[in-house]
């Protein structure tokens, strides 16, 4: 309990002015580069009401002993609500059964994500950016409750202890629950500094604490945006152009308007919306709508044509993402050289809940209900669309039925659509729910970009790798977004992550990027750059290992020696999988891959069985992961299991293709995803650690594709040079 203050002692909390009329004090944080300073803001609360104790922006404690943790991060399945509540409750010494979570309002000052520099969730940062902040928030409340008890009993704080939501005075055999102290605690000063726990005293962190959201998600009561029903609410479906970049030339709403239940048909910037008294009427109305599109400025290329162009780009000089030594000369000098290219398709995120948002718009306010992932940007974009100030836009963040990156888009596509429809309807306060269908989702753009990778390697006479060249071709995700500060010297960090930071010790390395200009909207997709770079890098290093006559695991282990954390994780995966130099029996194969993403290291060993007809099944994936302090090992395991299933589905089947600009897929029949009969057995081994926690929502996705492809090679002797591994609708 008496850990040195370390980082937290350098933080400066402003003291409360201690006015008795102020029942709640809210502390927010402003970030300026890496330097943080705290600002205090008082919120007046009617003193007559039983105001809860709210020592900071992240928790409230009620007189009924309830502890409400305010989550600045979206719960989209990754377990953020439970993780956030765990770290607050740990330092608070709260009774976990009294802890509940509610989502934070849009308020960037108080709820900024220090990694993303906006209020938002992404980059597997929820735990990492909350770790110190929320432990301090919990510790601060605990200290104030202790002060209140000490004052009530007239004893020094040092004589008191806290356990499970109760403060004890052991000497006098007295106890007081948190709830009984809240009025007094709220009047006390907010401490300047707080002590954080020594990890050996953790009671919740590191345990398999049950998730707070699971009971409601097991009985149908969890509230998603789909489930929002407000008095007088209407449902809108939007007809969007068949080509990206096409616009409405004209439309005929006669038939649509005659569908019973259809209330209004309106044109908005993204298309024509049918607004009705329910989904089915809106759907029938949209089906009956005729729109003529202006396709003159639309993207009309197909994905095959684009890939042909990408192949040519890979042969031309491009922007350098990493250069060490002289890779070209070294390849010329090499005893032996290899080259391979890898083709990665566009991918849709396809979260189970098709995009949806409810908007209640008046001339002076805009209220939004959504599984909102980028509150700051969505608030600003909604305000701009509505002609309001951001402060006039409020956001209720609900559970999201998956996202995988889709809801985190800086143009706020679905939010802007919903606001524009409410505006076109008349801004009269009628709540309108914009509902996307699955077809809208699959054809709606913001895909993981298509990429082409070309790799070359040189080996010397001993089979040592002396040279590595890697050319990547594809669209930039970040250019033109608020994140384009991460595009430096023509290099979008998300295009080259997992490639430019190649961990292998090779004397000559050359990584280049050619960024293409295509008018197909693109976006990050779970694990972002490593969703394609890991496949290229880990497939090719495997190919090089075989060419060098070395064991695929041992070859990597030797080359990764400068990265002890990666080496440890790689070794753990191999050990737990029972990796040996012996091949598996005929018809079976084993492959390995390692990746680092969002400061987390993941290594996986996949085992496959092939059948006589060329089909195959992934039998087992053994995964080792180092994500720093494991806040909740069961949630980490769940994220890895899910990441493997998500990544495997994409590796096997995922592809959005376009023909003459039109997306060829439309629903889960032709955009296949993994199903239960295809799920391998998964084992997850977590490296013990007391380092700060790192990302866990995404990294598990990265190695599975290459591990499976390498296992297929081991079983068949044939390499895979692109996803999906299963072509057609097989």
């Amino acid at each position: 309990m008496s850990a040195p203050m370390g980082r937290s002692s350098r933080r400066h909390f402003l003291k409360s002015t201690g006015s008795a009329s102020i029942a709640a004090l809210i502390i927010g944080f402003e970030w300026s580069g890496s330097a943080r300073r705290a600002i205090a803001r008082s919120v007046s609360v009617n003193a007559d009401t039983a105001a809860p104790f709210a020592p900071n922006a992240f928790l409230r404690i009620g007189a009924d002993d309830s502890v409400t943790v305010i989550a600045k991060h979206l719960e989209m399945g990754q377990g953020s609500y439970t993780g956030i509540a765990t770290i607050v409750a740990e330092e608070l010494d709260a009774d976990w059964t009294k802890v509940q979570v509610e989502s934070a309002p849009a308020d960037v000052k108080r709820y900024i994500n220090s990694f993303l520099k906006i209020q938002g969730t992404g980059g597997s940062s929820a735990m990492a950016n909350s770790w110190i902040q929320l432990r301090e928030a919990g510790a601060q409340a605990r200290a104030m409750l202790l002060n209140a008890a000490a004052a009530r009993w007239q004893v020094p704080v040092a004589e008191l202890s806290v356990d499970n939501g109760v403060i004890y005075d052991a000497a006098k055999k007295r106890r007081a629950s948190f709830g009984s102290l809240v009025k007094m605690a709220a009047k006390g000063p907010v401490p300047n500094t707080v002590k954080l726990k020594d990890p050996k005293n953790y009671k919740l962190i590191g345990r398999r604490v049950a998730r707070v959201d699971i009971p409601a998600k097991s009985n149908g009561t969890a509230q998603f945006t789909l489930d929002v029903d407000l008095p007088g609410m209407l449902v809108a479906l939007l007809k969007r152009p068949p080509l990206f970049g096409a616009t409405v030339k004209s439309y005929d709403a006669t038939k649509a308007a005659s569908v019973p239940g259809v209330v209004k048909v309106v044109q908005v910037p993204r298309g024509v919306a049918v607004i009705a008294k329910g989904f089915w009427a809106a759907k029938k109305g949209r089906d009956a709508l005729t729109v003529e599109w202006d396709e003159s400025r639309a993207e009309k290329r197909g994905s095959m044509e684009l890939m042909d162009e990408y192949r040519k780009f890979a042969e031309q000089p491009a922007q350098s993402a990493r250069k060490e030594g002289d890779a070209v000369a070294a390849i010329h000098r090499a005893t032996r050289s290899l080259s391979a290219s890898f083709e990665m398709p566009y991918l849709a995120h396809a979260p189970m809940e098709p995009l949806d948002a409810v908007v209640k718009l008046t001339p002076s306010s805009c209220e939004i209900w959504a599984g909102d992932q980028f509150q700051s940007l969505d608030q600003a974009n909604a305000a701009r669309t509505a002609g309001l100030d951001p402060q006039q836009v409020s956001i209720h963040t609900l559970y999201a039925g998956g996202s995988f990156g889709r809801r985190a888009n800086s143009g706020s596509d679905y939010i802007v659509e919903a606001v524009s429809i409410a505006k076109a309807y008349g801004s009269d306060g009628t709540p309108i729910k914009l509902q996307w269908t699955r077809e809208d989702d699959i054809r709606g753009g913001l895909y993981r970009p298509m990429y082409f990778h070309k790799l070359e390697a040189g080996l010397d006479g001993d089979g040592s790798i002396t040279s590595w060249r890697h050319a990547i071709v594809g669209q930039s995700i970040l250019t033109g977004t608020p994140f384009d500060g991460l595009v430096k010297d023509g290099i979008d960090a998300t295009s080259v992550e997992g490639a430019a930071n190649l961990p292998y010790a090779i004397p000559n390395i050359d990584v280049q990027l050619a960024t293409t200009k295509v008018d197909i909207p693109v976006l990050w997709w779970r694990v972002v750059g490593s969703s394609h770079t890991a496949f290229a890098v880990e497939s090719f290093i495997d190919e090089v290992a075989y060419a060098a006559g070395k064991d695929a695991f041992e070859f990597r282990r030797e080359l990764i020696k400068d990265h002890p954390r990666m080496k440890r994780v790689l070794e753990l995966a191999a050990q737990k999988a029972g990796w040996t130099r012996e091949s598996l029996p005929k018809g079976r194969g084993r492959g390995i891959a390692v990746a680092e993403a969002f400061n987390t290291v993941v290594a996986q060993v996949a085992e496959v069985t092939v059948d006589a007809s060329g089909g195959f099944k992934v039998d087992r994936v053994v995964c080792a992961v180092d994500c720093g302090t494991p806040i909740n090992p069961d949630i980490i395991t769940a994220n890895i299991e899910g990441g493997i299933g998500f990544g495997l589905g994409a590796a096997l089947y995922g592809a959005i293709t376009l023909k003459e600009g039109r997306v060829e897929q439309s629903n889960f029949n032709d955009y296949r995803v993994l199903r239960i009969n295809e799920m391998p057995k998964i084992e997850v081994h977590i490296v013990p650690s007391t380092e700060a926690p790192t990302g866990i929502g995404e990294p598990g996705v990265a190695p599975v594709g290459p591990a499976v492809a390498n296992a297929l090679f081991a079983a068949t002797g044939k390499r895979s040079y692109g996803f999906p591994l299963v072509r057609g609708n097989g």
Binding site: I214, G220, W280, R438, G642, N677, M679
Partner: protein, 155 residues
């Protein structure tokens, strides 16, 4: 036109467009929102309900076709086996985003009623129509096995 049927053991009459899928009648007219919309084509199983005890995709089931029949949604699960499924879902911490889980639970509950101790092959066959993009499949399988054991022990 009006359709009368039994919804979670209560007689209801809903006035809907004749080709309106049962999904939207349940959600928007009866106000039961546990049943979800995922694909509209019977491809993902998020909308699974029981029709006379059999799992069906409510997004593809016309409202008029359930006249005089018994519909059960996640809100109406009552049998010991269904309760065992829901308890196992919590015990093994199955859901992640949770959106597909009503449909998963409805399919699993129907499976246990027809095959009280299902094999892995029977689970594959009964559950492969239910997509989970969070890929909670390992836990779904384990939870069905767990529920089968606890329901058997409790029977």
């Amino acid at each position: 036109m009006s359709t009368t049927f039994t919804l979670n053991e209560k007689a209801v009459t809903l006035n809907g467009d004749p080709d309106m899928p049962l999904l939207w009648a349940i959600r928007e007219m009866a106000g039961l929102t546990g049943t979800k919309f995922g694909c509209g084509m019977g491809l993902c199983g998020a909308c699974t309900v029981h029709l006379d005890g059999q799992p069906v995709r409510s997004c593809m089931t016309p409202l008029v076709s359930v006249a005089g029949r018994k519909v059960t949604t996640i809100e109406g699960l009552r049998t010991p086996r269904a309760k065992a499924i829901q308890a196992a879902w919590v015990e093994l911490q199955v859901p992640q985003c949770g959106y597909c889980q009503s449909g998963q639970i409805m399919s699993a509950a129907a499976l246990l009623e027809s095959s009280p101790v299902p094999s892995d092959a029977q689970i594959d066959s009964a559950m492969s129509g239910n997509i989970c993009r969070c890929a909670t499949y390992s836990r779904i399988r384990a939870a069905i096995h767990r529920a089968a054991q606890s329901a058997k022990a409790g029977a």
